[in-house]
Each structure stands twice: as C-alpha cells, then as structure tokens.
C-alpha cells in the first residue's frame, strides 16, 4: 500500500488491500517479529465520539508495535467544548504525534483533517460516512474464512447510516463478489454509495427480505438498526424485528455460511447463534489487532520512506 492516509475504502486498490492483509497474516503468525518495531513513536487517538472497541483495538495494536498512545480525554472537558475547530485541533496534535487516528461525528472530518496535517491520518469513523480500518479487518476475516473472490455476500441492517457497510461495499468491488443488500426500504444504501457501486459495474442486488437470498450466501454481514433512526419506537420494533436472526433462521442457510457483525450487537443476532459454526463475529473483532498493527506499520513505514528515513529492520 503506497498511501499516506487511510480516509475512505474507495481509495484502496486490490493491491493495497492485499498488501495490508498479507502483512496482517504475517503479524498473526509471528507477532514477536513485530513487537517493538516502532518503539519511540507516538500515536494520537482523537476520538470526538464515544468508542470502546475501535479505540481499544488501535491502542492495543499500537502498543504491540512499541508505539505510545495519547488521547484527548473526554471531549466535554477538552478544547473542543471551547469551540476550537477540528482543523486547529489536528494541527496542534500533529506536533505531539507521528500519526493520528480520528473518530468524528461529521462526514468528511477525516478528509479535512488530512488536508491540514502531514502525519498519517486514519479515519476511524466519520459520521455516517466511512470506517475503512473496520473494512480491512472485515476483509481479513472473510479472506481467512472463505476467500475474497467467488464470494456471495449479504449485507443486512442499517445500510443508509452504517459506515462499516459503506466502506465494505466499496472495497468489495475490487474483488469478484456478488453483493446482496438486505434492509427496510427506509434504510437502503445512500445515493452516493449506490453511485460508486454502479460506476464500478459491481454485481449488486437489493432486497427487503433475507429469505430471498439466504441460501445463496457465503457470508452474512449483519449490522445494527438504531432506534434513533425511526420516528417512533413502535415503528422501530416492527421494522428491526424483521432483520433479526437466530439459530432457527440459519437452518435455511448453507452449512458453511459465515456470520459477521461489526459489533456491538443488541438483539439483531440472538445468542443461540453464538453456539453455531456460523458465528464469526468475535473472531472478526479479534482480527482488529493484527490488521490494525499491519495498517499502522504500513502507514508509518510509508511516512518514514517519504521523509527519507533509513529504516533498519
């Protein structure tokens, strides 16, 4: 991967993706070879929105590479609450760190941040926009369980606001994948994502009912439908209920079906699915470590190469 930043999945070529995933496989096979590789470096975790797993996963990945991490603390008590712009905030933090991981509630925040700093920026979620590092770990999980070509995948749930979905759909166009999108009418993929899929000539179909396609799937990627997307709670319960799966639902699926979820789940995957061979979401979450290690390693290596620093390894 010859990228300075990771802002959207649309910027990634098949070669970029495979290079990171190959490295993630190496990391997973021999973590000791990567331990301390970037000792003395500092990573800033800039989370303008609450996050548990993404933040901890980056923190852990960084520390395993020997990188120290710094955070902003509670946004309410930081300069952000005093009205400082994101542009100013990242320009200040750039002086404290060798790379930035940014989570922000506004779409396009990471693009803006990357325009203002010269250290690598990783978009760890921008509103309902993109979440490309999640996509890399999703792709790693799919690759290790099934392979990324000759793939039939169903992506279900909140496709309109789900940033993990937007990034995953874009990245899958680099592979030989049939994508089925399953959602209520009101939560279909946004126009911009459908536009990109159409432009690449991707094989895409949209459904409102999982039953239409379940038995064809190699992978079912489930996302959470959030209560706040609906005008009233009854409507939410009625719609969300149609997109919940349990072990019985999956009896109609192929035995080899891989069920994934970016987590956290609420009730869209019943606990009885955990006991089946389909359940892959905890493995998927754990893959965040080798994949984010590979990603940080790659971006820091690229930055060092750009600076002309001799890296001895």
């Amino acid at each position: 991967m010859r990228q300075d930043h990771l802002i959207t999945a649309t910027q990634l070529s098949r070669d970029d993706i495979e290079a990171v995933l190959d490295r993630a496989r190496e990391v997973a096979d021999d973590p000791a070879a990567y331990a301390g590789r970037h000792a003395g470096r500092v990573l800033a975790l800039c989370f303008f929105e609450p996050s548990t797993r993404t933040r901890m996963s980056f923190d852990s990945a960084a520390k395993r590479l020997g990188i120290d991490t710094i955070g902003m603390g509670d946004v309410d008590s930081s300069s952000v609450s005093k009205g400082e712009s994101l542009s100013d905030t990242v320009r200040v933090i750039e002086g404290y760190a060798d790379a930035l991981v940014l989570r922000h509630p506004s779409e396009g925040a990471a693009t803006l941040a990357a325009e203002h700093v010269s250290v690598p920026v990783v978009n760890a979620g921008d509103g309902a926009g993109q979440h490309p590092s999640q996509t890399l770990l999703d792709l790693h999980t799919i690759r290790e369980n099934h392979g990324l070509d000759d793939l039939t995948i169903g992506i279900m749930g909140d496709l309109k606001y789900g940033r993990t979905v937007h990034s995953l759909a874009a990245a899958l166009t680099e592979f030989d994948a049939n994508q089925h999108f399953i959602s209520p009418e009101s939560l279909r993929l946004p126009r911009s994502v459908r536009f990109d899929l159409h432009e690449t000539g991707a094989q895409v179909r949209e459904h409102t009912d999982l039953e239409d396609v379940l038995d064809e799937l190699d992978v079912l990627y489930v996302t959470r439908i959030q209560k706040e997307r609906f005008p009233d709670e009854n409507e939410y319960h009625r719609v969300a209920g149609e997109y919940q799966i349990d072990a019985e639902t999956l009896e109609a699926a192929s035995d080899d079906l891989t069920v994934m979820h970016p987590l956290p789940r609420v009730d869209e995957i019943a606990p009885d699915v955990d006991e089946t061979d389909h359940a892959t979401y905890f493995e998927q979450a754990h893959n965040g470590i080798p994949v984010r290690m590979a990603l940080l390693d790659t971006l820091l290596e690229n930055a060092e190469a750009a600076e002309g620093v001799e890296v001895d390894r």
């Binding site: 994101l86 779409e107 693009t111 911009s192 536009f195």
Partner: protein
C-alpha cells in the same frame, strides 16, 4: 431579437452572458461572486423572449472580462449559456460554457452533517460527475437542485 426589443442597452467593454435559463440570472451573479459592490456596471434581463429557450435571462457585466474558468462553473445551472466578450461595443470572442472538473467555494453541501457545515475554515469542493456534483468531503451527490445550494 430586433434592436427595438432590446430592453438592456449595449455595453462598451465587458462580458455578456446570454442564453441563461429563465430565472437563473441572480444565481449566475451569485456564482460569479458579483453583488454590485465591485463598482462595475451590471445589467440583468430576466424572462426575455428567446427562440432557443422560450424565455431566457441575460447578464451584462461592464468593464470586466470573465475568464473561461470563471464562467465554466455556470454550466451547472446554465448549460446553454453563451459568453460574449465585448470590446468597444463589438463582440470579440464568443464561447460556450464547458463543464469543469470541480467547483470550489460556490455551493454549500446539502448534507447538514458534512464537516463543511460545521464552522470549519474550509471552502466546499465538489467534483462534477455525470449528472450533478459530488461533495469531496462527505460524497453527497447533488443533482437537479444545484441552484438551491449556491452560497450567496
């Protein structure tokens, strides 16, 4: 159009933007960032009869020759517009507008949750795509309703 029908007088030097879709003249001025404070003469004709468009608007800007890159952005709301550069009452150059690759600082993003709407010191930037424009920051696509999002 014959001379006696011409409601706006000829200009000596400057730019005439003709064949603007009826009702878009003020948006043309907004896109060009012309609000009268610059001091040069500006004449606007609205809903003038036109063979080609039925009704058209005309904008005349005196003592200022607009460059091609300045006027290309007009193609988003006035794709049929013609640009006449006038010197000493004569049209010395006549051009059509062509679609630019991108538009900076002219439109506002319709996505309220876009970072460009969050009080950041940033100009909006849109890529021009097949049948609309697309925000470089949040990817929102704007189509028929472009004129509603001109930053004035």
């Amino acid at each position: 159009m014959s001379e006696h029908e011409l409601r706006v007088s000829k200009i000596r030097d400057g730019t005439v933007i003709d064949h603007v879709e009826g009702g878009q003249a003020l948006n043309v001025l907004a896109i060009l960032g012309i609000d009268g404070s610059e001091g040069f003469g500006v004449s606007v004709g609205m809903n003038v009869p036109s063979d080609r468009l039925g009704r058209k608007d005309i904008v005349k800007v005196e003592e200022r020759e607009l460059s091609q890159s300045e006027v290309d952005v007009l193609s988003l709301i006035a794709p049929e517009a013609t640009i006449n550069i006038v010197r000493d009452f004569e049209v010395v150059e006549k051009n059509r507008v062509t679609r630019p690759d991108s538009v900076t600082g002219v439109l506002s993003c319709p996505n309220r949750n876009c970072i460009t709407n969050a009080n950041e010191p940033v100009d909006t930037r849109f890529d021009v795509v097949a049948d609309g424009v697309r925000c470089d920051y949040c990817s929102t696509i704007l189509r028929a309703d472009i004129a509603d999002h001109i930053d004035v």
